[in-house]
C-alpha cells in the first residue's frame, strides 16, 4: 500500500491502470477530461498496456468500448453531462448485451445555461438504462469503487455495466490522501476477465443484436432484471472483501449508515456533499436532535430493503437532492418516497448547477425539517422544497 495525494480524476485513472484495462476510448469533456488525459499519459509512457482509441464523440466512445467488451476485453470510458446524454442510446446497447463495461462520470450540470459545475441530474437521468450506478463520497471511495466495478460487473451472477459517479470538481479536481494497493496485490484480487462463451472476433462471423422474437426480448430483459437484483449481494460481497483485504477505510454495501442507531430522524443523501451532511449531523446531535444519515452508495440496484428498514424505525426522513425531475420532485426524493411505507419523507432540492452547499446549510435544512415535523407540518411535504437562501421573494 502506498499513500498518495491524488485528485479524484487521477485516482480513478490509477484504479483503471491497476485493473489492467485492455481498451480505453473516450471523448474529452470538462470536468472528466483529466481522467482520460492521465490514462493517455500512462499509455504513452508504456506504464499501461492498453489500446487507447480516440474518437469523434461520446456516442462513438461507448460504441468502441462496447465492441471491445463484446470481444472479451476489459474496457473503460469516462464522461460528464452532455457527453453522457449523447451516449444514451449506446448505454442501452451495452446493458442489453450484458457487457461489463466500466465508466466514470464526473457529474456536471446539464445546460443551458452552460455550466461546468456539479449536480446529479446527468448521472441520475440514466437510472433506467440498466447500469449499476455508484456514487462516491471521497477521492478514496472513487478509487475503490472504480476498482470494485470490474469485479462486480464481470461477476457471472451480474454481467452488467457499471457507472461510478464522482462529483465534478468537488471530487474530480480535489486532492486528498488515497491509499493505493500494490499492483501484484490487485492482480491477485482481480484476475483477468474470464473468457466469454462466445465472443466477437475477426474471421468468425455471427450476428449480434439481431431481430428477436417478442417473448425472447422480454425474457432477456427479465434475465437482466434478475441480474441487477443479484448485483446487490455481489456489491456487498465484493466491497466487504475489498475492505477486508486492502483496508482503505471506506464503507461497503449499498448504504452507509451514519449515526442511524436509535435515530428518530433520518437524512438521506448521495455523493460528495454527504461529508458536510455528516458534520451537520454531529452538530445537531450535540444540540440534542436525534438525527442520522443514510448515505446511498448505489442508486442502481436501488437499496429498497435497507432503506425500508431504516425508514421504518424513524419518525420522518428528509432526502437531500442534487437533481430534479421537472413536473414531479427530486429524483432521489421520488425513489426514496416509493419505498417508504408509512414514514413521511420530505424532499429538499439544493446545489443545482453547482451551488455550494456547506455543513452550515445542512444544519439549517435538517433543523427546519425536524421542527416542521414536530410542529405537525409533514402533511405539507408532498411538494419538494427548493433550498435557495439567497432568493428572498417567492
Amino acid at each position: 500500500m502506498k499513500k498518495k495525494i491524488l485528485m479524484g480524476s487521477h485516482a480513478v485513472a490509477e484504479a483503471v491502470k491497476l485493473a489492467r484495462v485492455d481498451v480505453i476510448s473516450a471523448y474529452p469533456i470538462t470536468p472528466q477530461t483529466v481522467i482520460v488525459e492521465r490514462l493517455a499519459e500512462m499509455v504513452e509512457r508504456g506504464e499501461l498496456k492498453s489500446r487507447y482509441v480516440r474518437v469523434e464523440s461520446e456516442h462513438s466512445a461507448l460504441a468502441v468500448v462496447y465492441g471491445a467488451s463484446a470481444g472479451g476485453s476489459r474496457v473503460f470510458t469516462a464522461t460528464s453531462s452532455h457527453g453522457l446524454l449523447y451516449m444514451y442510446e449506446m448505454l442501452w446497447w451495452v446493458t442489453n448485451s450484458r457487457l461489463p463495461v466500466v465508466m466514470a462520470v464526473a457529474t456536471r450540470a446539464i445546460g443551458p445555461p452552460w455550466n461546468i459545475h456539479t449536480d446529479h441530474n446527468d448521472a441520475l437521468t440514466i437510472r433506467d438504462a440498466g447500469w449499476i450506478i455508484g456514487f462516491a463520497e471521497s477521492v478514496q471511495e472513487a478509487f475503490d469503487m472504480t476498482l470494485q466495478a470490474y469485479k462486480i460487473g464481470e461477476d457471472k451472477r451480474v454481467l452488467l455495466p457499471v457507472m461510478i459517479a464522482l462529483d465534478g470538481f468537488i471530487l474530480s479536481h480535489t486532492s486528498e490522501p488515497v491509499l493505493v494497493p500494490e499492483e501484484e496485490e490487485v492482480a491477485d484480487w482481480l484476475p483477468p476477465r474470464e473468457p466469454l462463451p462466445f465472443k466477437v472476433e475477426p474471421g468468425k462471423p455471427f450476428a449480434v443484436g439481431n431481430l428477436g422474437p417478442d417473448n425472447v426480448t422480454m425474457e432477456l430483459r427479465w434475465n437482466a432484471w434478475k441480474a441487477a437484483e443479484r448485483a446487490k449481494r455481489v456489491i456487498e460481497e465484493v466491497s466487504a472483501q475489498y475492505e477486508k483485504r486492502f483496508v482503505t477505510g471506506t464503507s461497503s454495501g449499498l448504504v452507509e449508515r451514519y449515526e442511524t442507531e436509535g435515530a428518530k430522524y433520518l437524512a438521506i443523501s448521495i455523493g460528495a456533499w454527504s461529508g458536510d451532511v455528516k458534520e451537520a449531523v454531529d452538530a445537531l446531535r450535540e444540540e440534542g436532535y436525534d438525527v442520522g444519515l443514510a448515505r446511498i452508495r448505489y442508486v442502481r440496484p436501488f437499496p429498497r430493503e435497507e432503506l425500508r428498514d431504516l425508514l421504518s424505525s424513524v419518525r420522518a426522513a428528509v432526502v437531500l437532492d442534487r437533481s430534479v425531475s421537472m413536473g414531479h420532485m427530486g429524483i432521489l426524493g421520488s425513489e426514496v418516497r416509493a419505498v417508504s411505507e408509512r414514514t413521511p419523507v420530505k424532499n429538499v432540492i439544493a446545489g443545482i448547477g453547482g451551488v455550494d452547499v456547506s455543513y452550515k446549510d445542512f444544519i439549517s435544512i435538517l433543523r427546519g425539517f425536524v421542527e416542521e415535523y414536530e410542529a405537525g407540518l409533514s402533511g405539507e411535504w408532498s411538494v419538494a422544497e427548493w433550498y435557495m437562501p439567497w432568493v428572498t421573494e417567492r
Binding site: K3, K4, I5, M7, P31, W114, I116, D167, F169, I170, L171, H173, T174, S175, E176, P177, G249, A272, W273, G275, D276, K278, E279, D356, V357, S358, Y359, D361
Partner: protein, 181 residues
Amino acid sequence: MLREFMILSRGGQGGVTASRILATAAAVEGRWAQAMPEFGAERRGAIVRSYLRVSEEPIRRRSAVREPEGVAVFSRRIIEITDVNKLAPPPVPLLLNSEKGVVLGERRVFYVDATGIALKLGLLVAGWPLVNTAMAAAMAKTFNIASLESVKKAMGDYFRGKTLEANLAAAELAWESVRGL
C-alpha cells in the same frame, strides 16, 4: 482541529499547485489534507480561488472554504480588483506576493517577493514568473502549515530534475525572506 486556508491567484500562476504541494507536505507529516480548486470558466489570467484544509482527523467537508484562518494572494493587483475583505475579512492574516509590505485594514500582512525569487531562478512558463513554490513555502511558514523540509519533500511529487532544483531553491529563499508588518 480542522484548519482552512484560501489562495487567490491568477490562472497560470500555479495557485492550485501551491495548495496541492501544501496538502502533500501536511500528509508527509502524517496529517490529513485536502486541496480544492474553485474553477469557474477560468482561463489563463482569470482569478482562481483555491482552498487548503489540514487536520489531524480525516476531512469530510467538501464545500467551499468560507471562513479561512489565513489567505495568500499571489499578486498585488488581485487586491485591487477583488474584494478580499469580503472573501477573508480582517483580522484574517494575509500573505502577499510583494516586494514590500502594505497596510490592508485591521489585519496582519505578511509579504514575500515571490516574483523576484522566480525571476532570479529563471522560473518562467510562457514568460510568466512561476511564483507558486515560493508562495507555498512562505505560506507554510507564515501560517505554520508544515516545515520547510516537508514542503521540499512534497515538491518532489510535482517536479523533476532541474525544475525541481530551481523550485527547491525558490522555496528556501521564500522561507528565509518572508516578513510580517
